[in-house]
């Protein structure tokens, strides 16, 4: 193997979500901090099991929504009542009931865009390269295999030790994840 490539971590491959879940819990108990799991579909409790609790996506969405709404009404009020007031059909300059639909739409628009962009950003996507893809078998992570990775940066990480740990956790195959940089 190339000398300049260093280790990203070890990866255990599991048959079923249940095994993975169990393994993840064990890893936490064993004191591993930097663990990540890869599954073809979301598995209840897995994130919790690898110690990932809180996500900022809802908050970001809320901010987006409020921002959109304020922009919406502010824009209409400013246009109709302040910068270019016109007598339209004898209606008041600030016909606020007529401004509701646009305000609402912009609220939704703001919230949605923030939600998606926020989610991608927090997931650090788009991400052109990640060492995990260097493992051939990992392709099946998007079909029917479940992976647990103990990362090298974990203080408690030790190649032999961690590999054994994974095998004991009934991983049917364990492989090193190399980071070629």
């Amino acid at each position: 193997m190339e000398h300049h490539s260093h280790l990203h971590g070890v990866m255990g491959e599991f048959e079923t979500p249940e095994q993975l879940l169990a393994a993840a819990r064990k890893a936490r108990e064993a004191g591993y901090k930097h663990v990540d799991a890869y599954t073809p579909f979301p598995i209840e409790g897995l994130a919790h099991a690898i110690g990932f609790r809180w996500t900022a996506v809802p908050l970001i969405t809320l901010i987006g929504g409020i921002g959109g709404g304020l922009t919406g009404f502010g824009l209409q009020y400013w246009c109709s009542a302040i910068t270019y007031p016109l007598n339209i059909a004898g209606r008041p300059l600030n016909s606020w009931p007529a401004f509701i639909p646009v305000t609402f739409e912009l609220t939704v628009l703001g919230a949605s865009i923030f939600a998606v962009v926020g989610m991608l950003a927090l997931n650090k996507l788009p991400q052109p390269y990640h060492p995990i893809f260097n493992v051939e078998r990992f392709a099946s992570a998007s079909t029917d295999r479940f992976f647990l990775v103990i990362e090298a940066r974990d203080p408690k990480f030790d190649l032999a030790e961690s590999s054994r740990f994974l095998q004991e956790a009934s991983a049917r195959h364990v492989s090193e994840v190399k980071d070629e940089e």
């Binding site: 979301p42 994130a47 739409e105 390269y129 998007s142």
Partner: protein, 462 residues
Amino acid sequence: MSVTQPPLNSPDIRRLDPVLEPGHTYASVTDKIAAVVLTRPLGIGWLAGFTLTFTIVMVLFISIAWLVIKGVGIWGINIPIGWGFAIVNFVWWIGIGHAGTLISAILFLLNQKWRTSINRFAEAMTLFAVACAGLFPLIHTGRPWMAYYMFPYPSTMGIWPQFRSPLIWDVFAVSTYGTVSLLFWFVGLLPDLATLRDRAKSRYQQVIYGILSMGWRNSARHWHRYQSAYLLLAGLATPLVLSVHTVVSFDFAVAIVPGWHTTIFPPYFVAGAIYSGFAMVLTLAIPLRKAYGLEDFITMRHLDNMAKVMLATGLIVAYGYFIEFFMAFYSGNKFDVFLAEQRLHGPYSHFYYALILCNILTPQLLWFEKVRRNVLALFLMSLVINTGMWLERFVIVVISLTRDFMPSAWGRYSPTFWDYSTFIGTLGLFVMLIFLFVRGLPAIAIAEMRELVHESHEKGQK
């Protein structure tokens, strides 16, 4: 005849048809769906269909070109009927879009598992329908090249859009709807794009799906944020989809034209939208499952449920028609009364009776389980309902305008060749996009199907 059925999420659910035929594994669903995109060769059917629809799209382009050269006068519109096919088609297409969002968002919130296998192409349908719809408000203006006046931008004259106009509400509603639907669709696609990336054999497939999937790697952390965002989007899309057709109905309800100026419009436009939307989903789903052998994923259960939704929304629409008449006579407003009579006896009464036949009478057959489970019958009925809903918009938009306040200014409307060619053109565009979609992207949400497999296994173990 149709036995009282337990709610779909009750434990003894298996008495109903399964939402996924048994015996499927994570791999099998993934293979089957991905294969359609990755490995399956281009069928002669697909090629023929695509060529045909592509030709029709060319007709659309020609129609629009001629329109821009000559002006909207090439259509049948006149004074007093200032709006004709263009607006009818706009409302119709927007309505069709609604089912997609409804399935993917509302049924998701209601935790309806059966949505899984149809939501993907339902959403695609939404996007394409909105694309077709959005075309009309643009080209129906007298000076389409000036349409940007409708957007708030700092113009040299310092003048801004007139926000009291429902048309401006439309601009915001439809563009928001389009954007959010696209985001929702893309978020849903992300894991599947990753799947395709991982399974892609040819280089260019790997590159394309690789770029599109943005490096998604199925990490638990990704999934966690993903689910949270998806849930939020569903929550946002739900009021949005209801608002969009409400706003569209405002185009009429806010105006003072007899036959337009009614408070019943928002709810019954939304119901009508879902009605026609589900009809369109059936129109697409039935041939699709046949062509690509997806009967296992789009089961009778789905068709049955969609039929029931159509029946329900159909009844709401019928109620809307009734209330329109009732209010006309109850209010005693002479203009509304007159218009109501015109609908029954006026020069366009045959359209109205056709509408009643298509939208109210025919769907009553759906009370019968036999009909709901007869694929051909459902397919035909979906076509009938689509026609009916188009007629409804014609009745509302055109007939109301032919008989408004000043008898001296009454008129009539008859479409020209260009009205038809433009409408048919958008039909072509819609179907062509569907053709491209089924070959380019997974028509069924793979990741969600895997989830479904997982759950049915769990149930199996119980």
